[in-house]
């Protein structure tokens, strides 16, 4: 479209007195009317109300408008409203631009009408400048494969698979162990209801095994995932089980004749099993497997006894791994967690004293299906302990050895265990050494009260040392009781370490296969901790259970159903509407250097560096952060709707008059822009010298934008985005930080004070901090002299184009 054809309409909203109270809206309207290509400028009382929207539509028709600028509130609130409005008048929704003159102007400059009006005029001018360069964007739809992958067959994965399958969707449930069930299958009772764990889990496991829409793949691991939301392609390695599970009738003859005896991991090593084994009696699939690491071999001379006795002929010691591939639309990650190994905590003597055990070991000892058939015996002499102590927070809430977070379930698990002991052995004495008892859930406090009423002794203090009497193998626990400030000693028969939970050791490998990130504590990172707690930042991937954080059974099941609900939205819809803010590549400019692929947090770009075939963007996988466009040295990468020329036009418009008075501030849509909105909503007052440029992510801010701002006379530039770790685009803002470092070095080399480029991470909740930063920046701006600005302009003019610079 040529510039002559542009017909822009500007609609200035008074928002009652919200804008008109501190901004002269008529002056803003008149000023807009004089801007190039503006054919109509209208003032409304409430533009978002029906009459206001009707006026926009009428003007589009009457004046044949092909661009619309709405000067009103934050686009984070009403951008969808006005996009729909212009679409109803047959204008492409991406040809509408908003100028935020409320949150970023009238509300934050309540007492300076003249300056607020001046700023509002600039904001509208910037929006019009951008609107001139807007392009219509097509609405894209992507088909969704009606199938889901659930990774992990613990209680969360089981619940997710059943819910999805019951909702009518085909499900692939992949579990790395020979049976589903996870940690819950190893528990005796569950809190707070004290019901038998396998009794409630077993039927669900059976349901999974026989559900017609669930393809259960045990002893299997996901090897590769490619594609994007709605169209993932999954590669799974089904490890050789050496037993055909469809034929095995669980007769057990193979185990009877197997000569190999190894510790049984399911029973925490308190019992043994054969190399031909079934993980536990309720296992699903109900089939034996051969532990090939311990099997004497498939040589008939060596052994082969199991093959000989199997009447169903289902054992094949030459079986090989199979790799299968299938498409899915969504993925639920439910890989659970690991239990903390307390060996490193030498003061508790877990590795030295036989009668120091962990809670998972206790669970097997007290369980009727355990190695002692429910007899709680101490390992050293198989006698029933009379005095049992529980030490809480082992490996949790510690900065030194273990994990800094609370493991969430240990307090209630110990309370439950203490009641189990009293139920089995009423004469026993139980001591619980604790920091805090966290009994916050439904029915939890009641269980805690019951435990205390049953006579369980709760001692506030964590023991400094556990020692053993070598003759009796009894244990002595020294502890500072913080309720009476005395060091006390307790003689105990058994000590149970209430070990915490930690991220699965396999999670790191999975993050390399699937595009998910880990938080500082090692668990997976959600798209938003409050509003999208089961979504991964990568669309189409969801979390369930303890893979996200330590959880009890109820919370794991709840989260699994929530993940299914989120997943079903995509699967039920059948198609997804694609956002237009996506990266596109100009192959004529692309040099196949691979930088764009390296910086893309979503693995949405592929480059054949050797083949020099140019970058390929998988549009559906691209989230539109723009890191690629900012890092591309050849200007080959562009982000639709946030193109270089659109952003540069805003900067130019902002600095057209009195540039020395203005600070150019780049705000990311999700955090720092939201913080500016919060400052506005909170009516936090700050100087009116900032001119804001909205980008989807701070990683979009090209060095060229900053150079341009300085070249045009800006005394100061602020680059701001989400805090590190909170980026809406996984870790795209890491590139912002690197770029800032690079820019500071270059400014230094050129003789321009690096202080003139500021960097701040501001969360959406930090409205007050945003206001303070604006006030601080104004102080800094005042220290930049006109001579310094002129010198900078000269230096940059002499320096020439920047795009060929070394990265």
């Amino acid at each position: 479209m040529t510039q002559e054809e542009l017909r822009i309409g500007v609609f200035v909203c008074e928002c009652g007195m919200n804008i008109a109270g501190s901004v002269d809206c008529e002056e803003v309207r008149k000023s807009a009317e004089k801007l190039p290509h503006v054919v109509v400028s209208v003032r409304n009382k409430y533009t978002c109300a029906d009459p206001g929207q009707e006026e926009i539509k009428r003007n589009i028709r009457e004046h044949k408008l092909n661009r619309v600028v709405v000067a009103s509130c934050t686009p984070r609130m009403h951008e969808p409203t006005f996009r729909n409005c212009v679409a109803e008048a047959n204008l492409n929704p991406y040809l509408m631009e908003m100028a935020n003159i409320r949150e970023q102007c009238s509300w934050v400059h309540l007492h300076n009408r003249e300056a607020a009006t001046r700023k509002a005029k600039d904001i509208v001018k910037m929006a019009v400048a951008r609107a001139r360069l807007l392009q219509p964007q097509p609405e894209t739809t992507i088909p969704v494969t009606d199938a889901a992958l659930v990774i992990g067959g613990g209680v969360a994965g089981i619940q997710a698979a059943l819910d999805l399958a019951d909702a009518g969707h085909p499900v692939y449930l992949v579990e790395k162990q020979p049976s589903i069930g996870g940690i819950m299958a190893q528990l005796d009772k569950t809190f707070p209801t004290m019901d038998c764990s396998i009794c409630v889990l077993g039927p669900k496991m059976m349901d999974v095994g026989r559900h017609p829409r669930i393809k259960l793949m045990t002893f299997s691991e996901v090897e590769k995932i490619s594609g994007y939301v709605g169209n993932f392609k999954v590669q799974v390695r089904q490890k050789a089980r050496y037993v055909d599970e469809s034929l095995c009738n669980n007769c057990g003859r193979c185990a009877e004749v197997c000569p190999v005896v190894v510790p049984d991991a399911f029973q925490q090593g308190f019992a043994s099993r054969k190399a031909a084994y079934i993980p536990f009696p309720q296992a699903v699939p109900s089939s034996y497997a051969i532990d090939m690491a311990n099997c004497l071999g498939n040589n008939p001379v060596t052994c082969d006894k199991c093959v000989e006795v199997c009447e169903k002929e289902c054992i094949n010691l030459n079986m090989e791994d199979k790799v299968v591939e299938f498409p899915v639309g969504t993925i639920i990650v439910a890989t659970g967690m690991d239990i903390y190994d307390p060996t490193a905590l030498d003061e508790y003597g877990y590795a030295r004293f036989e009668n120091v055990i962990t809670t998972p070991e206790f669970e097997r000892l007290i369980c009727g299906g355990g190695p002692t058939e429910g007899q709680l015996v101490r390992p050293s002499d198989h006698q029933i302990p009379k005095r049992i102590g529980f030490i809480q927070c082992v490996g949790s809430r510690t900065e030194n050895r273990g994990n800094p977070y609370c493991s969430n379930v240990c307090c209630m698990n110990t309370i439950k265990d203490s009641l189990l002991i009293h139920e089995h052995y009423p004469e026993s004495e139980v001591y619980v050494f604790y920091m805090d008892i966290r009994a916050y859930g439904k029915g939890f406090e009641d269980l805690y009260r019951r435990s205390k009423e049953a006579g369980v002794h709760y001692i506030r203090g964590l023991p400094g040392e556990v020692s053993e009497d070598p003759l009796t193998r009894n244990l002595k626990v020294r502890v500072e009781n913080t309720t009476n400030c005395r060091v006390e000693e307790y003689d105990l028969d058994t000590v149970v370490l209430s070990v915490g939970l930690q991220p699965s050791a396999d999670l790191k490998k999975l993050t390399g296969i699937i595009n998910i990130s880990q938080t500082a504590d090692g668990f997976v990172m959600e798209a938003h901790p409050k509003l999208k707690p089961v979504d991964a930042p990568t669309p189409g991937i969801f979390f369930a259970g303890s893979v996200e954080a330590p959880k009890d059974i109820k919370d794991s099941v709840t989260q699994a159903s929530a993940a299914v609900a989120r997943s079903s939205i995509l699967l039920n819809a059948g198609t997804i509407r694609g956002d237009a803010v996506r990266a596109v590549v100009d192959l004529a400019k692309c040099n196949s250097c691979g930088v764009c692929a390296r910086v893309c947090p979503f693995s949405a770009i592929e480059v054949d560096i050797k083949g020099k075939t140019g970058a390929q963007v998988t549009t559906a996988a691209c989230a539109g952060c723009g890191a690629c466009a900012a890092e591309c040295r050849f200007n080959a990468m562009t982000v639709q709707h946030f193109r270089d020329e659109q952003i540069l036009a805003q900067i130019e418009a902002a600095l057209e008059e009195d540039p020395e008075q203005k600070i150019i501030t780049f705000l990311c849509n999700w955090c720092s822009y939201a913080a500016s909105d919060m400052a506005g909503v909170s009516r936090l007052q700050y100087p009116p010298n900032n001119r804001f440029v909205r980008v989807m992510c701070s990683a979009r801010v090209d060095e060229e934008f900053i150079w341009q701002a300085f070249q045009l006379g800006a005394p100061l530039v602020l680059l701001s985005g989400c805090h590190i770790g909170d980026c809406h685009y996984i870790g795209a803002n890491h590139w912002t930080m690197r770029r800032a470092d690079r820019m500071w070095n270059r400014l230094d080399k050129l003789g321009i004070r690096p202080e003139r480029l500021q960097l701040e991470w501001i969360s959406a909740a930090e409205g007050p901090r945003f206001g303070q930063i604006m006030r601080d920046l104004e102080e800094m701006r005042r220290r930049v002299t006109p001579e310094e600005i002129e010198d900078t302009k000269k230096i940059l003019a002499a320096r020439g184009p920047t795009q060929d610079e070394e990265q």
Binding site: G731, Q758, D776
Partner: protein, 47 residues
């Protein structure tokens, strides 16, 4: 084992210069000036 080097940092907001041990992990850490809490903290080249 080679001990971690110190990172030499300068706050471009208040001018405070300080050192922190280099992270042994490869994670990206948010830089915050201990004096003024600004994130405009520049990593200075090793001297």
């Amino acid at each position: 084992m080679v001990p971690p080097m110190d990172e030499h940092l300068k706050c471009l907001h208040c001018g405070h210069e300080y050192k922190v041990p280099e992270s042994t992990k490869k994670d990206v850490r948010e830089r915050v000036c201990p004096k003024c809490k600004s994130n405009s903290v520049r990593q200075l080249p090793p001297r």
